[in-house]
Amino acid sequence: MKIFGIPIFPEQASTFAKDVDALYFFIFAVSAFFALAVAVSVIYFGIRYHKTHDGEIGARIEGNLSLELLWSVIPTVIAMVMFGWGASVFYHLRRPPAEAMHIYAVGKQWMWKFQHLEGQREINELHIPAGQPVKVTISSEDVLHSLFFPAFRTKIDAIPGRYTELWFEAQTPGSYHIFCTEYCGTNHSGMIGTVTVLEPAQYQVWLQGGGVEGTLAQRGAKLFNDLTCSTCHLDSGQGRGPSLKNIVGKTVELQNGSLVMVDEAYLRESILNSQAKIVKGFQPMMPTFQGLVSEENLVALIEHVKSLSPDATTAAPATGAPSAAVSTQKPAAAEKK
């Protein structure tokens, strides 16, 4: 929206935009009402009760309990409405639907790297189809960043050592800003990009155009061989490491008897800190790959492993500790069921 050619309101390009803006206008209206009410009374009183002669004093009014209670309770009620509405929008923002298309993003000083499952890799550009929920899983290679799509009204910090995620469903084809909103050093303001929303058909065409290296999972499969993972993780289950076939989304028992759900966080941890949680019945002999696999290759490997479990729905990433036993947020885990 523009007034005199000055943009004053961002485009509404996702399904959230309308929800968030509705909330915005509600709070705006409430705020405007109270601000005006106070402003008008203050100015009116200033004129009406202006001092007329020296030595004049105001009426002695010490207070009024029912008025005090009234203007304590009313703001409380309004605030609770705001909280409830805001929380429900937020809950929605944080729950990607199961059928969401999956994209990986890596923040790095000072660029955004995106990887599609089909293999396309983009820097500071992102192409997505309209009318399709898209889930972006984000990590960082160095310091904190924050991936912000103003037209979609959503953002999340990129935290080194963890996965975070956001999702949106773009509606209107077009090009929109991508910003980094968490200060990340010298060229923070250069860490911007463009997200291009395409009609689904156009998106398919765009997909065909790139993809020289094969899909993300295929790249992962190649890495799986190059890093000699394949010599131990045999599909038969007879190797020195457990078979990775059909394990994603399953629960496995560890050496110490505890159970763990195989999701992205567990896979990530097992690659980087291989001996943190060893599946029961196997020797702790896998080397760690900390520092040997980049964040991009890591997601390729994870995607490869996930492709070995065709039936599993996408496991939610962890937002817990980098390598400890904490895993998915509770609501995330609950929703998967």
Partner: protein, 541 residues
């Protein structure tokens, strides 16, 4: 009548003229004056950085200074304004000067500690200025890890040490106020006869005493991580960068209330005095200060809704955040009701008070947007946030500080400033402020992130408006320096109570004696008793 007034022969400014008599003074009033001079210097240094920032942002390309320089500008602006101006401003200057006379005491409970806090402030300031001159620091005033721990190669540790040291100044000031208010009140000065200014400072002191040590230990952890290679926040060494944010905001959110609570106290005095009326709902206003101080400690994670905290925690903290809105709203409504049937006049301090009410209302209400989870995701770290907290800290705290300074200037110096120029300045500050910061709400909702050195072209018009307003605002701040200095020599003699105010501090001469009162006063009345004041003028004097 004014002709008869003259500056009294004996007062605190004449109690010794040597530099030594100032540097070794234990008089809270002299210490307050030295604080006033120190923080004014800091304010203008911090302001210069703001000028640099607005100059750079006049064009979308980063063409005035390099990105590194720009990053240092906003970092130093934030560090100096927050830790060396806003936090000490009202407590260390007005609070220091006024709390003892307001409660009828000769001095604060620990005069030597008061002087020590000034020296500590100076040492911290020198560290920070040294860090600035020798290359600056570029982490933002928030010092988020891991950038501050491993990413930045600027003077993080000297700056952090400066803040650490200055923190003790704040703690000692708060400690002194708490003990003073508890133990030094004059006979008859019960808790509910205290001016609301004192209540507000009591609440502020609680925050200073309870919050500041946490930022101190956080800085220690950051320093050992950076300096000694300990692993606490660095994810590469198993640490959690988000833990830093938790610890940082545990102090830095309440710190906002160190800045605004005393401002609210000043407001109660101004509105009461210039409407010649007792504050509506005294006890509600008094307790709302305490409520804000306590609630301030349970809302910090609303700075971290998109920083990777759990959804559950985000909801808890959003809910708690709204709790601060209630006492703030109560205060606004009570001030409005105070004006009802008052005898209102618009001297300069009241102009500032009116300006404050407008700006603080906007600042507070925009806080609701940011406490609301679904909206904060979009608005977090955009210029909307920048505009919001400037409305609170500049529109609120500095407006109030300026109002208070104009109000008590005659008490501090015995002389009046130019009423005409001070009104011009108050209006310039109000207008300039709104032109500067209102467009930032708009550009923020458009999505412009904070701390950006360059930005998309379509956002230029709003940024140019902002920069233009900053010019007016800046001039509005320079003007008082001139007429205040002028007033020291040429200003009209004010007399003990130029405003017809009711507080105990106006019952003694201006400037006050070193021991504030000739005799210890005995208090037998409620505060803000204008009827009695008038009666006394008519019949007794």
């Amino acid at each position: 009548m004014l002709d008869k007034l003259k500056i009294p022969d004996h007062h605190y400014l004449h109690d010794g003229h040597s530099l030594r008599s100032w540097l070794l003074t234990k008089d809270h009033k002299r210490i307050a004056i030295m604080y006033l001079m120190s923080i004014s210097v800091m304010f203008f240094i911090g302001g210069l950085f703001a000028v640099g920032i607005r100059f750079e942002l006049a064009t979308p390309q980063g063409d005035f200074v390099t990105a590194d320089t720009y990053n240092k500008f906003f970092t130093m602006h934030g560090v100096i304004m927050v830790f060396f101006f806003l936090i000490p401003s009202i407590p260390a200057v007005l609070g220091n000067f006024l709390i003892p006379p307001m409660i009828g005491a000769k001095d604060l409970a620990f005069p030597r500690i008061n002087l020590l806090s000034l020296y500590i402030y100076w040492i911290g300031g020198i560290f920070t200025l040294y860090a600035m001159i020798s290359g600056g620091v570029d982490t933002g005033w928030t010092f988020y890890t891991p950038y501050s721990a491993t990413g930045s190669n600027t003077n993080v540790v000297p700056t952090a040490i400066g803040i650490f040291i200055a923190g003790f100044s704040s703690i000692l000031t708060g400690l002194n106020f708490i003990v003073t208010i508890h133990r030094m009140r004059a006979p008859g000065m019960t808790w509910f006869r205290l001016p609301l200014f004192v209540w507000a400072h009591y609440a502020t002191s609680l925050v200073q005493v309870l919050g500041t040590p946490v930022i101190a230990i956080t800085i220690v952890m950051l320093a050992v991580e950076r300096g000694l290679g300990f692993g606490i926040f660095d994810p590469a060494r198993g640490g959690d960068p988000v833990l830093f944010q938790h610890l940082f905001w545990f102090y830095s959110h309440p710190a906002v209330y160190i800045m605004i609570l005393p401002a609210l106290g000043v407001m109660s005095e101004l509105i009461s005095t210039f409407s010649r009326k007792t504050v509506f709902g005294y006890s509600f206003v008094a307790f709302s200060s305490l409520a804000i101080a306590v609630f301030g400690f349970i809302v910090w994670a609303h700075h971290m809704f998109v920083a990777g905290i759990s959804t559950y925690a985000a909801m808890v903290f959003s809910f708690l955040s709204f709790s601060v809105a209630i006492p703030s709203a109560v205060k606004m409504f009570n001030w409005t009701a105070t004006l009802y049937k008052g005898a209102i006049s618009f001297e300069t301090p009241m102009l500032y008070a009116y300006g404050f009410m407008g700006l603080f209302a906007i600042g507070g209400l925009t806080g609701l947007f940011l406490a609301t989870l679904g909206l904060d995701v979009h608005m977090h770290d955009t210029y909307f946030v920048v505009a919001h907290f400037h409305y609170i800290m500049v529109g609120g705290a500095i407006m109030s500080y300026m109002g208070g300074l104009h109000f008590w200037w005659p008490k501090m110096t015995g002389r009046m400033y130019s009423e005409f120029f001070s009104r011009v300045s108050a209006i310039m500050v109000f207008v300039g402020f709104n032109i500067t910061f209102f467009p930032q709400f708009v550009v923020g909702y458009l999505g412009m992130p904070r701390r950006y050195h360059s930005y998309p072209d379509e956002m230029q018009v709003l940024n140019v408006m902002s920069s233009a307003g900053a010019t007016v605002l800046g001039l509005g701040y320079v003007l008082p320096v001139i007429y205040f200095l002028w007033s020291l020599k040429y200003g009209q003699v004010a007399g003990p109570n130029p405003w017809g105010a009711s507080g105990l501090e106006w019952q003694t001469q201006s400037p006050p004696l070193t021991e504030n009162f000739l005799k210890v006063p005995i208090v037998d009345r409620e505060p803000y008793d204008y009827e009695h004041l008038v009666a006394k003028e008519k019949h007794l004097v």
